[in-house]
């Protein structure tokens, strides 16, 4: 399938926005301006963008502790994201959630989740609800390959398949469960697990946004038509550490491996494709990047200058 040029440029813009956002998050950490830690999505941008661009605004997603990319790809704004990361009042969750719990109802984002695999039930429940309300919405559950170790995932995949729920499970296999290679924790052939439950299962190169998008589009529309859930395995790589503080990584993964994967940077691959097809030249791409840098800078400024929530808010929102 040939993707239209505007669409590829839009992917480039979205992926670059996530990359620049995450680089800025790292800077905020290194300059001690951000409380706590953050888990960067750098290297995996093609998955969030390729999948979310296949969704309607009112379709649901659930995300993970490594979730900034999913939120942005589903339509969150940079300034309110930064505000949440700094615990500020205009943040998406009024500073109560932080990096690992960003939720945005307006864009169908039911929340990032800091329990590995913890949102599998929520996403499947949202799909069930969409079916019951006959809303034709689809739910996408993003998770890393670490979640393959969680029993909940298998419980809900079983029900999704039994009841043909409109859900797409997206497994971002970035090779590492925190600091341990997934081959040391994951027996057998991963794809055979969802296949055993009767899910349509596809394994693809997660660095190729075109492949991610065309596959996601097919699986999402299939689910929307009531043909049942699907499982998309995207091979990818976490360019940075498990979190921003994970800097010395040699004890669990070789530098050479990192270098090899960086040659398959999803943004550079897409840029190459755009140039080869003469859809954009170096200058045009640099122009997009400059524009996004200004957006990121303005977002950080906004967040740094934003007020903290009123301390009295600590007792608010415990109960609806």
């Amino acid at each position: 399938m040939k993707l239209r040029s505007e669409l590829l440029l839009r992917f480039y813009r979205q992926m670059t926005k996530i990359r620049l956002f995450e680089e800025q998050v790292n800077q905020l950490y290194l300059s001690a301006k951000m409380p706590g830690l953050a888990h960067l999505y750098i290297g995996e941008e093609a998955i969030a963008v390729g999948v979310c661009e296949a969704l309607r605004r009112d379709d649901y997603i659930t995300s993970t502790h490594r979730g900034h990319g999913h939120c942005l790809a589903k339509g969150a704004s940079v300034d309110r994201m930064f505000a949440e990361l700094l615990g500020k009042e205009p943040g998406y969750c009024r500073g109560k959630g932080g990096s690992m719990h960003i939720a945005d109802q307006e864009t169908g984002n039911l929340g990032a989740n800091a329990i590995v695999g913890g949102s599998a039930g929520i996403a499947t429940g949202a799909a069930m609800s969409a079916r019951m309300r006959a809303s034709s919405q689809v739910a996408v559950c993003f998770f890393g390959e670490g979640a393959l170790g969680q029993g909940l995932l298998y419980e809900v995949m079983n029900m999704a398949s039994l009841w043909k729920l409109p859900i797409l499970y997206v497994c971002e296999n970035n090779q590492y469960n925190e600091y341990t290679h997934y081959r040391e924790t994951t027996a057998g052939n991963v794809a055979r697990r969802p296949e055993a439950f009767g899910l349509e299962t596809v394994s693809i190169d997660g660095q190729d946004v075109g492949a991610v998008h065309t596959t996601a589009l097919r699986l999402v529309e299939r689910a929307r038509q009531g043909k049942g859930p699907a499982f998309l395995i995207c091979d990818t790589y976490r360019f940075h550490g498990h979190h921003v503080g994970d800097i010395n990584r040699a004890y669990y993964r070789p530098k050479k491996e990192e270098e090899e994967w960086k040659r398959r940077d999803p943004i550079r691959l897409l840029a190459g494709r755009l140039k080869a097809r003469k859809l954009a030249d170096e200058k045009a791409l640099a122009g997009i990047e400059e524009e996004l840098k200004r957006e990121i800078e303005a977002g950080v400024e906004f967040a740094l200058n934003a007020p903290y929530p009123d301390p009295a808010e600590v007792d608010q929102h415990v109960y609806a």
Partner: protein, 333 residues
């Protein structure tokens, strides 16, 4: 001494004798008729109507689309309930035995209870989780526990403990209409207990205790199964000349502290009666007469831990706050 007038308004519908199980079923049926977003999911809830036959007949009226038999996957159905509740439905998740809440702890404690708070008040989880408590059914260690105290400990959850058919119907209706996750514990030994239940709609607010019997000498504070025990004990005490006041707590979260405190002030003595394990109150029970001031408990603030430093720093005791509390107890503040 007769029970005082109830603190919550009585229903107007004609009253019938009904079992506790029938009252639960009637509440569910009425709510499902009233609100199309209410549905039931659980193991053997449809044709089987649960092993206790509490739900018999519901699938015939509402169909398998709203009374859904699930696999034996407690965590999975609890998770589905959370997701469905967040997106416009009002699920009633059936967890057959209270002992199985161990299997759903992440979904109820880390997800359902915290989502409203973590999202800064944007997302809601209007879900009811019905389950059971109570021993003496000869079901042994894994089918007899009363674990409501665990869940009452979690900010963001409401915990309901009805003690009779009338309350079961009115409290369940309130639980279903509540916008928060509510865990509804039913004493499985009480399912065949009969009592008056009004026809038609009425609700009992969550967080209002009921004085079941007035007395001046001692307060018996009881939950769920222990309310009947307290009432029987009060009868026996009465014959010996001791007037016991019985408070049915009805919900442990929120807890109607005012009613309990008022009663204790009046009677000046109290027994707390609950089928869960009791393990604390060490000083209050062991050294009360040596105290010059009430024990002050300090712990985490009753909120999920917020991210923002200006909020988080208020949630744990500090040396300064301990000093302040201690000085107050010593009369030096």
């Amino acid at each position: 001494m007769k029970a005082p007038a109830p603190t919550t308004p009585h229903a107007t519908g004609a009253s019938r004798e009904m079992t506790f199980a029938e009252a639960i079923r009637e509440a569910l049926a009425e709510e499902m008729r009233r609100d199309p977003t209410v549905f039931i999911i659980g193991e053997d809830v449809a044709e089987a109507g649960t092993p206790f036959k509490v739900l018999s007949g519901l699938v015939e009226e509402f169909g398998t689309g709203r009374v859904i038999d699930s696999p034996i996957s407690e965590a999975g159905i609890a998770g589905l309930g959370v997701g469905a509740a967040m997106t416009g439905m009002r699920p009633v998740v059936d967890i057959m035995f209270g002992d199985f809440v161990t299997l759903i702890m992440d979904q109820i404690v880390n997800q359902a209870a915290k989502i409203h708070y973590m999202s800064g008040g944007k997302l809601k989880v209007p879900m009811v989780l019905r389950t059971t408590l109570g021993a003496t059914r000869r079901s042994a260690a894994q089918h007899s526990q009363s674990l409501h105290a665990w869940l009452s400990h979690v900010p963001g959850l409401k915990v309901v403990l009805p003690s009779n058919p009338y309350d079961a119907k009115g409290l369940l209706k309130s639980a279903i209409r509540d916008d928060n996750p509510v865990v509804f514990f039913e004493d499985k030994m009480m399912y065949q207990l009969k009592g008056p239940v009004p026809a038609g709609d009425y609700t009992i607010p969550l967080g209002v205790a009921e004085i079941r019997r007035a007395g001046k000498d001692i307060t018996l504070v009881a939950t769920s199964s222990m309310v009947q025990v307290a009432l029987s004990a009060a009868d026996m005490l009465d014959k010996g000349g001791i007037g016991a006041e019985v408070i049915d707590v009805r919900t442990t979260a929120p807890l109607d502290k005012a009613t309990i405190i008022e009663s204790a002030k009046k009677t000046s003595r109290a027994v707390v009666l609950d089928e869960g394990y009791e393990g604390y109150s060490v000083i209050a029970e062991g050294a009360f007469y040596y105290l010059d001031a009430p024990v002050k408990r300090m712990g985490a603030r009753s909120v999920p831990v917020p991210f923002s430093p200006v909020l988080e720093d208020q949630t744990v005791p500090t040396p300064e706050s301990v000093v302040e509390a201690a000085k107050k107890l010593c009369g030096k503040l």
